[in-house]
Subunit: 220 residues, 2 copies
DNA sequence: ATCTATACTGACTCTCAGTCATTTTTTGAA
DNA sequence: TTCAAAAAATGACTGAGAGTCAGTATAGAT
């Protein structure tokens, strides 16, 4: 356990307040139109002070993403406590993911930003990015655990590598939830309106398709 | 058939040249750091001229996205010509999607941009956005056709609504390919390196999982 | 050849991220 | 308690780049 000095704690707290302020500003007008001046005003500090706590604007956004990853990973970790089959655990994780995105749209938007931001080498190698990576890896571990449980209890086929399967589920779920998110929150591609699908059930349908398969001719 | 005047044709051609120039500039340094001055220089016109052909910078990006959608949709349409089972058609479409993204990373990046851009109402209601929507809807129709063929020939379960299934495949594939794309092209989340998966086969595995299911206890 | 409409130009404005000389606050040694 | 050094904070300033517009060039009509 690392003992932090009062200074360090105060500094960390101030950092959190700036992140809170940034989230408030972004909620009003979106990521694109949020300015450092606005964030400073909201945080009740000068613009210069922002740069004492964060390297640049992108790293504030990175910090939002980091907080989001942490929250999401936490909520996934809780799911492993349930006494359920592996497949049920995966289903619950998918539902938790969707719920998180619906309740915290700003974090989800930040995740999308994150993927663009890390093409910048300097940010990619920052401490904040490392924390995001760590959260993601942790989340992935929970998914793989659930898959392994499912392979043990027979609810999930054991012909795939659980890690590869984990990645596929991770990627595919992200795509689905991305779609669901856009449909709910903003201007979105009109094809999403052609089908009258219920958002609360789409993850269930998706996991069901993954789980039971959509083809008739099952070989095993 | 609408007969265009020479003027109109020249204008359209110039527009395409500007899009070409923008793509060249973006290839060099990415979307973020491309400037209107650079694009103008590359296109051998003045900066002001860019604004005679495009409303603003975002709409140039939108135009790139539109061209990309058109190309991708075209390549999907060709697949329906093959004499294959529905499931095979879907698999081929997935492969075509991946190939397109690998060969034209810039268009894929533009697609991602597009989804952010359309949160701006003005752009969302533009002619270019409408063209993107039309392409997307067309692509979706091809997927649904393939699914219907598969439900007829027995290669795909007919217990789902083909349209809903189409959306799920669309969303999930996007997520998977997004992941594959990031792994190949740029700084990317390190969890992608934890698993040594082959990109050329990931779509196959994904479609196989969708197609044959991952659960042991098949009810039908 | 002259006129008019359309296409084009690039210097200019404005906004905003990021900087830095200056001021304010905190610390802790005497 | 005092005060000098260090740390934190400020906000006017700078530079970059998107977008504008008064002025210029060109093509087509008469």
């Amino acid at each position: 356990m690392i003992k932090k000095t009062r200074k360090e704690r105060e500094r960390a707290a101030r950092k959190q307040l700036i992140i809170d302020a940034a989230i408030e500003v972004i909620k009003k007008n979106g990521f694109e139109s949020a300015t450092m001046d606005e964030i400073a005003k909201q945080a009740e500090v000068s613009k210069g002070a922002l740069y004492l706590y964060f390297k640049n604007k992108a790293s504030i956004y990175l910090a939002i993403s980091e907080r989001g990853s942490r929250l999401l990973t936490q909520s996934l970790s809780k799911i492993l406590l349930f006494e359920l089959s592996g497949l049920e655990l995966i289903r619950k994780m998918g539902q938790a993911y969707l719920k998180f995105v619906q309740q915290n749209p700003i974090y989800f938007t930040a995740f999308i930003y994150y993927e663009n931001l890390i093409s910048d080498d300097e940010l990619f190698e920052s401490e904040l990015a490392a924390a995001c990576e760590e959260s993601a890896r942790e989340a992935m571990t929970y998914i793989v655990r659930a898959l392994q449980i499912g392979m043990q209890d027979g609810s999930i086929k054991d012909t795939y590598d659980p890690k590869e399967l984990g990645l596929i589920i991770w990627g595919a779920s992200k795509g689905i939830i991305h779609m669901a998110f856009y449909k709910e929150n903003r201007n979105h591609m009109k094809i999403l309106d052609d089908v009258d699908f219920s958002l609360d059930s789409i993850i269930n349908n998706f996991i069901e398709i993954l789980g039971t398969g959509m083809a008739n001719d099952q070989k095993s």
